[in-house]
Symmetry: C2
Subunit: 512 residues, 2 copies
């Protein structure tokens, strides 16, 4: 490696020194100024030569290492990676005469997620006549389209100049203020400037992944969980670690074990009506989770998409409300409150974290549709939003009661479950050895579908589990659907018993 | 390394074998089954042991290498990276008693983009009384809010059931059909299924970065370019290579040089009214660009945000219309056509590429707001959309004519520029040695602002350049603003001459 004379750094630039150094070294590798296998100066030596802090050199080296351009070797120092120059420099063979179709296959990134099988299931069952418990959608028809229409009208008469113009990255200020007021009622003291408006909870997760996870870093996510929760983190190249969910929500002993074992950048939990299990965390466990996160200095992301749908109207205080250190980021959304098509959600985070999330938002899509934000503010005046949430909650509560009655009447006694206390999904467990996917195949023949638990596990799937989502199923359909499912379960239980020559008694299931 | 018995692969699984192998090896590294410094079997040997294709092992090793978990070493084989196990396993020190603020600084990812200085400039000049040529915004006030309001009304009376519900990832089908019909008029034969609706052009770029760029891979982007074009690619960890822009748009000789030198995954160009230079590519150069891309088997992304704003109503055929091999992805948007606040754009791509883009969209935010999509379809009926685009184009044309007149009257003769033929920005070059940022400082004192060219270069910035955006500036402001700028330029030219003891004659500038 040549001396530092070839690496001019500009201390006055707004570009951090370690980024300048990283880019200089990267360019030297690309152009052959540093060749594969060549030894780099130790961080201490280079820092002295350049007159910069040693941490600056370490940060630059770490970035180059994560790009695979350099590698340390035990006892020998740091070297330009063997294929770094070649990889940067080798173009594909030039083709002079190829007129065929373009070979797209060769151009896809490593991290694009595979097709979502749940999405395929939901789509395949959209035909009329099918009774579907597959999608966790809110009831349609309870949202007052007339009130929404009048809100649009008022916005476009009074504020069209603002609503159709570009807006701030963090969101439409009146919506931030309205949300801050609503959050205060929940015991969350958030300033409007700490709220970032997003295109729904899925985008909140995407922004979190971008702002907090570098490739190879670890995030802890509940297992099972709805598949969409994983995708942004996988796409960012993060490692996703499983947090088992028990009857009282996330398994905190398992969480402690994981945090003792390795460095984790974010813990993502759903304390209220977790999807798919419907489990909620007790107040005691919420406090314990915060103590654990504090002990290991790990930020917590609280997904509270379903909190407003508690049938009793009550939940334990949110982690964000209990948090005294500013280590919790809170996610909410209008989707499960009757507006799933609008794609409107929010992240509440301390100022430093908010600044990063907004930079990610700026790079991702500038800002969320101003018009719809303005309409939602107008809609919320005179309590139309409250009434809409109440209507969704009440429809879910009634459906859950129908479901409980029909399950009691139609399912075999050894199917374990718990009557939902909120949200729009219920979680079931068949006796050991009975596969929910096989039940689905039987039920589908009678035009009833649901989601086997296997869709929700990213590790150690339990094939006996399944989810019934009841938010958007009518009472008569619940009755017919559960009856059909009960029959399918009985048939599959008999078939499964006769398949097994030895009928081993499964261990007791502690989940429900 | 233990033998293959410890690596069970499932050939029947839908998970590709190389992914299975990568994950197995990663887990072994995490759990200490493979330790730092331990040697891995050569790809050929491991492929034989596992009974898989050698390319499978190579792909798995490449992924682990890009994560920094393993590294090859010249002449010695492939090893588990020195700090791989440690990095995966070392938790931060547990803190029992820290009650201070949470240390967010330590938790931000490497790739979150820095603050956009242009954004800061635009925000800082939003005060009343300031004449701003800084932001490329369409004229406000030309959009018919009344027609838009009636479109909302009709959608919510007739289609509220669809518009407020979750929608397909690719977009609202009637909008896809409407766009397909409009694209056919431009000579682009796109099926509705090849169109993906996004939250505007910025999100189209984010999805492209996710779908096509793995960390360390290269994308070619025009230099100068509006800063937002880079951010998604930087965020994805891609290397951004500069494509110089000349009077006839992208410099194709430079492009060929770049493609000869290294492997590039995407070429991103703006053939019509490039932002910031306003330059357009001739038909001949468009054809040549496609031939070059074909020769190097590299996909082309065509950003046509400004194409509809040609003052003559004409442009050369788009790359997408000229493409015969399905190697071009076309980006459009309603933002510059008068609806910047709505965040609504589209990607047109061949089916395979569309499938990948939609998977990225699904992971990013599920789908774009259905309601606004439905309103835009309704708005476009009876030609209201055509009239809106016409109004924006006409306002820009009139503003450009005012600008030309005032520049001719007020700017020194040795300021080079070209009268814009479309779009909403004009590009200028001061005489050599005169710094546009210094002119901005002088003009700002008289409450006139614009954007120095330095904001737009990510390499080899030309400090003499600047951009005036005229889309949303009134005629009287153009007159006063250009007069002030002319004075600031003269003052700065004199100051700059007197600063330089030797007034070297600059080389001729071939750009305009």
């Amino acid at each position: 490696m040549e001396t530092a004379n070839s690496i001019p750094l500009d201390a006055a630039s707004h570009v951090p020194l370690y980024i300048q150094l990283r880019d200089r070294l990267e360019r030297m590798i690309e152009t052959g100024g540093l060749r594969s296998g060549e030894r780099l100066l130790p961080t201490r030596g280079l820092a002295l030569e350049l007159g910069v802090n040693r941490a600056t050199v370490e940060a630059a080296y770490a970035e180059l290492e994560s790009k695979g351009l350099i590698a340390g070797h035990v006892g020998r120092g740091t070297f330009v990676a063997p294929r770094a120059t070649a990889r940067a420099l080798t173009p594909p063979p030039a083709m002079e005469t190829d007129d065929g179709e373009f070979p797209w296959q060769g151009f896809f990134s490593d991290t694009v997620p595979p097709d979502d099988p749940l999405d395929a299931l939901v789509r395949s069952t959209a035909e009329p006549g099918v009774i579907s418990f597959a999608a966790a959608h809110p009831p349609s028809g309870v949202v007052p389209a007339g009130e929404f229409r009048r809100a649009c009208d008022r916005v476009l008469r009074a504020h069209s100049n603002v609503a159709l113009k570009p807006g701030p990255t963090g969101g439409y200020p009146p919506l931030q203020e309205m949300l801050a007021a609503r959050l205060r009622r929940q015991g969350i003291a958030a300033e409007p400037e700490e709220i970032t408006i997003t295109n729904g909870c899925q985008q909140s997760l995407d922004l979190l992944a971008k702002a907090f996870l570098s490739p190879g870093q670890a995030v802890v996510i509940e297992n099972p969980v709805y598949p969409g929760a994983l995708l942004p983190f996988r796409q960012a190249g993060a490692r996703v670690l499983a947090l088992p969910v028990g009857a009282d929500g996330a398994d905190l002993a398992a969480l402690e074990n994981t945090l003792e074992g390795q460095r984790v950048r974010l813990i993502l939990v759903t304390p209220n009506f977790q999807n798919p299990t419907g489990a909620s965390m007790s107040l005691e466990n919420r406090r314990r989770l915060l103590r654990i996160a504090q002990r290991f200095q790990t930020p917590v992301v609280e997904n509270d998409t379903y909190g407003a749908l508690s049938f009793s109207g009550k939940t334990a205080p949110s982690l964000k409300a209990l948090d005294r250190r500013g280590s919790v980021i809170y996610l909410g959304s209008f989707s499960k409150a009757g507006f799933p098509g609008l794609r409107l959600g929010w992240c509440v985070a301390p100022p430093e974290a908010t600044a990063r999330l907004r930079r990610a938002k700026q790079a991702t899509d500038l800002h969320t549709d101003q018009f719809v934000q303005a309409v939602m503010v107008e809609f919320a005046r005179h309590h139309a939003l409250d009434r809409a949430v109440d209507a969704v909650r009440e429809a879910c509560r009634v459906n859950a009661a129908h479901l409980a009655k029909e399950v009691a009447r139609n399912f075999p006694g050894d199917v374990a479950w718990r009557v939902p206390q909120g949200g729009m999904s219920a979680w079931f467990r068949l006796p050991d050895g009975v596969n929910a996917s096989a039940v689905l195949e039987r039920a589908r023949q009678h035009r009833v579908v649901f989601t086997p638990g296997a869709y929700f596990y990213f590790q150690a799937a339990r094939p006996e589990t399944f989810r019934l989502s009841f938010g958007n199923v009518r009472a008569a359909e619940i009755a017919r659907g559960v009856k059909t499912l009960g029959e399918a379960i009985r048939v599959e239980m008999r078939a499964s018993r006769s398949r097994r020559t030895v009928n081993r008694q499964g261990a007791g299931w502690s989940f429900v």
